[in-house]
Subunit: 349 residues, 2 copies
């Protein structure tokens, strides 16, 4: 396997997502990117929870930061008796899991980290080291799985394709673009800016540009018109959650673009490391609603008067009949066949 | 007829759109609204053309500012021989018409003003006074026509409706809301912010709020999700241009919302003072593309790096099969029946 890091832009390199440094969690500040390459150092679980809530990190970042926060909690509990340490880790897990009510992969990963800690404690070994050892190996596999998904994604892209995405579709999507480009496919990427946080404009567009692939930023109201002009052939996004019956939950706007894509015959593919066996259907989805004040500003500038009401659902839901495929490490799956592949015991969440 | 002005918010009151003041054109600066209530004073045709191009005014504003600019040009030409004055007015007309390639109502109105000036010159009367007299009477009728359209719009709104709009749908839409509200219909309005200029957040939301009607600002990627939640029952916009075969050209994003509305069974209505008899079909539409740099900023703040490419089509096109009705002063018309009503000689553009 070739060196995966070389296919990734700055933001997605392993050390730049978040890292564990001398008992502290160091998190790349994605709110400031690409204008600054800044990192936030967290020395308490609460600080990590807040950087996740405040969108300092997003996408795949919160999971990494949160597991390191558990390791930090274990270290800080020091020589406490196992029962007390377990209670501390459980509280930390609950605080961290509550930062992202919609994306259940964070909760699932934290539960696995707790199991790892628990096993270590039973064996009389230090929980911090056990969490870190397990997680570094998990991260190794994460990049290998993302690369496998990236190869499936690249296989769906044809020479000359215009590729639409939304928000910041993370490692597997960037691998797809990188592999397709390396294979000589001349592609062009369109990134809606993704209000209110502008992840498309700030994270995706500079990352694609960094890979040397042509990219254009558009505003979130433009995808349908570009499709009507014949500029877009494929639509790829990440997924914050995929239910076992094939509903794709992702950043607000994903579904709206899917409706436009469906009208124009453009297929929609969602990357998912693992559909959630604990989420059977649409009714089991909790869509996070964030502070409406965030809709009234853009990079700190007011966009309307403070007294005007606003509404901010952070995610939307695309039903399975509009999903052309869910790209997992097992291949490009039908949204109607996920229970068969992921309905059993959890592995590798 | 009741006093129409009382049904209108600050931005749409006759004196606040643009006015002719001692030989100068005074234009409300909609770029600064609602944070400032500022006016720009223009003493040359070129200055008026630039405030239109720079989006100081938009929607119905450019037509008003441009006709006053013609009156100003006639005044400044003073005692010039009729042929020289005609040439001056023709040059002014061409410069002003070029500011808005998509919205042909501006061009059509300027041509009528030229005819009025021409008739005056033939009769040996001053062109400035003739243009102003004709235009004040035109504006009287404009508000009466908008009120008639507003009553048709209000008739489509039911008690309890959630109403989606896009950009700033101007006088007829605000009349619709005002009349429906006065009739006791409890409605709620949703205004997508409308990037990149934020007309929805800055102009529509404060104007609806000023009328005392509940309104929520959302980002442009949210309408489809709100529809899936059952929050929206009607979708109304203005139209920069309606072709005789029923294509609706309006601010970018209008079409994307229509596709979402169609999926959810929400009807789409466009207000149009007059479909253009000179625009038979989609092929006759010119969609203005603006400076991509405008997509890379939001109220002066950068949203991505300067070296990232961007794309800015300012309008989109909704085909007639997705238009539930075109609201004109003649009623709520089928998009397939416009040629019957507007295909003949121009009146009242």
């Amino acid at each position: 396997m070739d060196n995966l890091n070389e296919h990734l832009p700055f933001l997605l390199r392993r050390e730049n997502v978040a890292r564990y440094e001398g008992g502290a969690v160091v998190v790349c500040d994605r709110r400031k990117y690409p204008f600054e390459r800044a990192f936030v150092r967290c020395e308490e679980v609460e600080a990590v929870a807040r950087v996740i809530e405040d969108m300092v990190t997003q996408g795949g970042g919160p999971s990494v930061a949160a597991v390191y926060a558990l390791a930090m909690a274990a270290r800080q509990a020091g020589e406490a008796p196992p029962e007390e340490l377990r209670a501390t880790l459980r509280r930390a897990r609950d605080r961290l899991a509550a930062t992202r009510p919609t994306n259940t992969s964070l909760q699932r990963l934290l539960d696995r980290a707790l199991s790892v800690a628990d096993e270590a404690l039973r064996a009389g070994e230090p929980a911090e080291a056990a969490i870190l050892a397990w997680f570094e190996s998990f991260r190794d596999r994460y990049y290998q799985r993302a690369a496998a998904m990236g190869r499936f994604g690249a296989g769906l892209i044809q020479d000359g394709d215009g590729v639409l995405t939304m928000c910041f579709a993370e490692t597997a999507f960037l691998f797809s673009l990188s592999f397709a480009w390396r294979d000589g496919k001349r592609i062009r990427v369109y990134t809606p800016e993704t209000r209110p946080y502008l992840q498309g404009a700030r994270l995706t567009a500079p990352s694609v540009h960094e890979l040397g692939i042509p990219v254009q930023v558009i505003t979130d109201n433009m995808p349908a018109y570009l499709m009507s002009q014949g500029k877009i052939q494929k639509y790829f996004t990440a997924a914050d959650l995929v239910t076992l019956d094939g509903h794709v939950v992702n950043k607000i706007g994903t579904f709206q673009n899917v409706l436009a894509a469906h009208h124009h015959g453009v297929p929609f593919f969602a990357f998912s490391m693992s559909p959630d066996p604990g989420k059977p259907d649409r009714a089991s989805i909790e869509v996070e609603e964030r502070d409406p004040a965030e809709v009234r500003t853009c990079r700190g500038q007011r966009t309307t008067l403070d007294e005007i009401d606003a509404y901010y659902p952070a995610f939307d839901i695309t039903p399975p009949h509009l999903v052309a495929g869910v790209i997992t490490e097992k291949g490009v799956l039908s949204p109607y066949d996920l229970a068969h592949h992921f309905g059993g015991r959890e592995e590798g969440a």
